[in-house]
């Protein structure tokens, strides 16, 4: 049984289900959304300001967890590089009829190249499927964090959180 992030180093199903920044599967099936895997109170709030659509709320105490408003979120990914914990992802469940697009923050060299096939790792660091690199992006405001878009089989969209080349 998964005991949780403070014991295993990855979020348990229960923790994911209870995270106020993680949208439900029903919501994800409608449109691309941010998935904020932040469940531990930390004095931190850059994601709130990073969202151009005010879809992320932390509020007065910076120890509050980020709450995602799935109605306002456009899945743009502006929050991804703002998170010092690298805990924000974007999942587009309907990228094609069979595949989803998962966007992850990435800070390792060498960078993957677009079109490359890579091993896709879950939160435990296990290779669970193969995926295709869709995009590799950064801008000055990302401050050296890259956003890697990975096309994966839909059923792995809520598992894949890293890549290995």
């Amino acid at each position: 049984m998964d005991k949780g992030i403070k014991y295993d180093g990855y979020l348990s199903e229960k923790e994911l289900a209870g995270a106020p920044g993680v949208p439900s599967i029903d919501q994800l099936n409608v449109k691309p959304l941010a998935v904020i895997e932040c469940i531990e109170p930390i004095p931190c709030n850059p994601c709130e300001r990073a969202c151009p659509f005010s879809a992320i709320t932390i509020g007065d105490s910076i120890w509050n967890l980020p709450v995602l408003d799935a109605n306002k979120c456009k899945g743009c990914g502006a929050c991804i590089p703002s998170c010092p914990g690298l805990a924000i992802f974007v999942v587009d469940m309907n990228y094609s009829s069979t595949s989803a697009l998962v966007k992850i923050p990435y800070e390792y060299f060498p960078l993957p190249k677009e079109g490359m096939e890579v091993d896709c790792l879950n939160r435990k660091g296990e290779a669970v499927t193969k995926g295709r690199i869709h995009s590799v992006k950064t801008t000055a405001t990302f401050d050296k964090t890259y956003i890697i878009g990975i096309e994966v089989n839909k059923k792995f969209a809520m598992e894949v959180r890293n890549i290995r080349m």
């Binding site: 295993d8 850059p46 010092p84």
Partner: protein, 353 residues
């Protein structure tokens, strides 16, 4: 002898923030640091920091360092490097080794921002080359751009252990595992998650039994511990490694405060003995203030706010700002930032007056 209004000992986040705040109000601040570069630990921190906008959250540590140095320059703060303060007497005279030469400076007010040192962990083989503090490994990869080894084990799952592991992975080093004697990961979950999804095992309830090797570390033997941290026989496992990084906590560097007779007290959660300070970051000696990790191990964001508080309090006390409602409000603002960052669970050492 040179006489100045304010000497700040230490050019880390607390010391720089203290000197900037004092200089903003017209105090000519002199910062002394024993290192050959300013910034304390900030320039080793290549990750983005937590916090709010006021503490430059989301900014990488070394960029915060650069911003503080630029501000210090802008406000005319004087920073003397390779200056080690070895003593302070009853009349606020600082004994200094200035680039290998002895000198003295007298200050009206002194703010101690001496930081902290890494705690060691003793085990058979700990003197073998390859056993080092996580801070040393971090200095090697992020300052000198040299990898400390090829196969590493990290001892300690606190934030230092998790963050330095991430930096080592970014430098392309193979980290075999992170271990901790605790039953729980002691650092932030998000830091652990980055390591875990990179496939690095996090092994809890294990400690180092011994390091083995002829001329350097070649192998580490781990052993399981029970809830009281007693070793459980016949539970040894081993890894082939050439480097053992120790991230088992930090001790506040209180030598100067102790030497001049500031009252210290024991606070296990904040790292051990720390100087008692009041709501102005003033120690039990009138002209001596203290801020940052030496008053308890906390985040850099907290060190910066504490430094600002001490710097502002010194400016008021030196008569650069009148002690009126406005300056009290400015002090309150910093205190409120601090309590926000600590969520009310602040340092127990804060006393009244």
């Amino acid at each position: 002898m040179r006489k100045v209004n304010l000497v700040v000992v230490g050019a880390g986040p607390a010391g720089l923030s203290a000197s900037i705040e004092a200089a903003k109000h017209g105090v000519k601040a002199l910062v002394l640091d024993e290192n050959h570069k300013p910034g304390g630990q900030l320039f080793k921190q290549i990750h983005k920091f937590f916090g709010s906008e006021q503490q430059m959250a989301g900014t990488r540590g070394y960029e915060i360092g650069t911003k503080l140095l630029n501000l210090a320059k802008e406000y005319g703060v004087e920073i003397k490097l390779n200056n080690r303060v070895i003593g302070i007497d009853d009349h606020n005279t600082l004994a200094i080794i200035d680039n290998h030469k002895y000198s003295e400076i007298r200050a009206k007010k002194i703010i101690l921002c001496c930081g902290a040192t890494e705690k060691p962990l003793a085990f058979p083989g700990w003197t073998l080359p390859g056993v080092m503090g996580a801070g040393a490994a971090q200095t090697l990869v992020n300052i000198h751009r040299v990898v400390p080894g090829e196969k590493i084990i990290m001892v300690g799952s606190g934030n230092v252990g998790l963050i330095v592991t991430y930096h080592l992975l970014q430098a392309g080093v193979k980290v075999k595992a992170i271990i901790d004697a605790s039953h729980k990961i002691t650092g932030y979950g998000v830091h652990a998650a980055k390591i875990k999804r990179a496939g690095i095992p996090i092994i809890l309830r294990y400690t180092v039994n011994r390091a083995m090797g002829t001329n350097q570390v070649e192998k580490v033997e781990l052993i399981q511990v029970d809830k009281s941290f007693n070793k459980i026989p016949c539970t040894q496992i081993s890894f082939d490694v050439d480097t053992i990084c120790l991230a088992v906590g930090l001790s506040p560097s209180t030598e100067l405060a102790r030497m001049i007779g500031c009252k210290l007290y024991y606070h296990p959660k904040l790292g051990g003995y720390i100087p008692m300070v009041n709501q102005y970051m003033q120690t039990t000696i009138e002209d001596i203030y203290a801020a940052g990790d030496m008053t308890g191990i906390e985040e850099a964001s907290i060190a910066m706010e504490e430094g600002r508080l001490a710097g502002l309090a010194c400016a008021i006390s030196l008569g650069y700002i009148s002690d009126n409602a406005q300056s009290q409000k400015a002090l309150e603002n910093i205190r409120s930032n601090l309590s926000q960052l600590r969520m009310g669970n602040g340092k127990g050492g804060i006393i009244n007056g």
